[in-house]
């Protein structure tokens, strides 16, 4: 009788162990964005160092969450304008990305090395969701994945409007760079 309890428990346990190694996460991924026009005398750029990212290596599902208030700027006024006038971070506190590595089967997560990852998914900013697609780099080191990707989005796609007064400074095209090192999710 006791064996009967023990046996399934081991199976259950092993299931959850397998799961734990599938999933990796971080809460300190970095995102950097730049939307400076060449004519602008000042740099329009911000950094956020507390991005949450979860990757399921089994399915290739990858998700990001960003707190908009966590973006930091060189100039306090720029930070105020970012939150108050552009992304309206009180109304839309979070941005997120939910997608998948489409070539997940090409990546050997157990072998250290650099892999190209094609990622496709939905990016939600300012309450607007749009499909995005990019190619990033996945670096496996000591069995742990690191991510590195850059892509562009159009502010107008996310209903973030640029007043004509500052249109010589702020570009509608935003360059976004994201990087982070993931740890096993226990």
């Amino acid at each position: 009788m006791k064996k009967l309890i023990l046996y399934p428990s081991i199976i259950l346990l092993s299931f959850s162990l397998v799961h734990a190694q599938d999933k990796f996460y971080t809460k300190t991924a970095k995102v950097f964005f730049k939307c400076t026009k060449p004519s602008s005398p000042e740099k329009i750029e911000g950094t956020n160092k507390s991005i949450t990212c979860v990757l399921d290596t089994k399915t290739g599902n990858i998700q990001f969450a960003v707190l908009m208030k966590g973006f930091e700027f060189d100039r306090a006024l720029m930070q105020e304008h970012f939150n108050e006038n552009y992304v309206e971070s009180d109304k839309f506190p979070k941005a997120d990305f939910k997608g998948q590595i489409i070539n997940n089967t090409d990546i050997n997560y157990t072998k250290d090395g650099n892999y190209t990852a094609k990622v496709k998914g939905t990016l939600q900013i300012h309450g607007e969701a749009k499909n995005v697609e990019t190619t990033g780099m996945l670096v496996i080191k000591n069995g742990k994945p690191g991510i590195n990707a850059s892509f562009q989005v159009q502010l107008s796609d996310y209903k973030i409007s640029i007043p004509s007064l500052v249109s010589d400074k702020i570009s509608n095209t935003v360059d976004i760079v994201i990087e982070g090192n993931l740890d096993p999710l226990k």
Partner: protein
């Protein structure tokens, strides 16, 4: 198989089901184990002044705010004076953000050639989330010094006679994204007053409000009720209404007011104009901030 064994096989079956479910699950929920954090409420006003008086908002550390204040003449003077625009008084000032909760400022106004300076400290910062307080509490201490040549040369004039001091508490709350309200009990001490009836210590309560009309424009009201003023001196409680307009790096505060002076002593004790008679002036405050120190990333 007995019942227990069946039960366990069922459990295993369930866990297999769950593992296949897991492919579509919200991965972010797996790590969303953080308790809600206390979060400070900022941007209650566009500027560190409502219009005349101090607001519950601070300048960020490392930022200098260069402020140019203009008040024109009375609007009801008619076309000959171009509705007051032919005359102007002004105050130029520099405010500095020292820390998140401390700022200082100096300025000089053309009215009575008066210097002024102040220290503003935030004791409570409005916040939301666990352990939060829904209002901000600030304290302001300032002084003013007139530098006009002495009008009365027959008596011995002391430097101290040129001085006035004020202390102010500001209790305010950004009640919603679009509405901010604050109260500012104020005490003003003048070392020298013109007549015996004028109180050396004048008590007043300021009421300031902001209604946000759009992302870059807000409507502001700034009023001070004076409690023990000399009723015969012909002055009125200062009331200013206007708009804050934000353009890139500037905040323009365009307003109508009955106050001529642009520091606490002047607008509390020298507002001889009366709104009811139409003795109001057009004025603007121009605020331009400069980032003096760079933030570290």
């Amino acid at each position: 198989m007995n019942i227990r064994a069946k039960l366990f096989s069922f459990l295993i079956f369930l866990s297999v089901c769950f593992s296949s479910f897991a492919q579509d699950q919200d991965l972010l929920k797996l790590v969303d184990n953080e308790k809600p954090k206390k979060e400070y409420v900022d941007y209650a006003f566009k500027s560190s002044r409502v219009i005349m008086g101090h607001s519950m908002e601070m300048i960020r550390p490392g930022v200098m705010d260069f402020r140019i204040l203009h008040r024109f003449g009375n609007v009801n003077q008619g076309g000959y004076q171009f509705f007051g625009l032919d005359q102007a008084t002004m105050r130029m000032g520099f405010d500095f953000g020292i820390t998140k909760n401390l700022m200082v400022g100096i300025g000089r106004g053309t009215n009575k050639k008066e210097f002024d300076g102040f220290l503003k400290y935030r004791i409570i910062h409005q916040s939301k989330g666990p352990g939060s307080l829904p209002f901000s509490l600030l304290a302001v201490a300032g002084s003013t010094m007139q530098t006009l040549k002495w009008a009365d040369t027959s008596r011995k004039n002391f430097l101290t006679s040129r001085l006035a001091f004020y202390g102010q508490l500001i209790v305010g709350s950004k009640i919603t994204e679009g509405f901010t309200l604050q109260f500012a009990p104020t005490i003003l001490h003048r070392n020298l007053v013109s007549t015996e009836k004028d109180p050396s210590d004048l008590y007043a309560v300021g009421i300031g409000a902001r209604i946000r009309l759009s992302r870059r424009v807000s409507f502001n009201i700034d009023y001070f009720y004076r409690i023990n003023q000399n009723l015969d001196d012909g002055t009125h409680n200062p009331l200013s209404v206007g708009f804050d307009i934000e353009t890139g790096g500037h905040v323009f505060q365009l307003h109508f007011t009955n106050a001529i002076g642009m520091n606490e002593r002047a607008f509390l004790t020298e507002s001889t104009n009366n709104w009811q008679k139409g003795d109001i002036q057009f004025g603007f405050n121009l605020s331009r901030t400069f980032q003096l120190t760079k933030k570290k990333h």
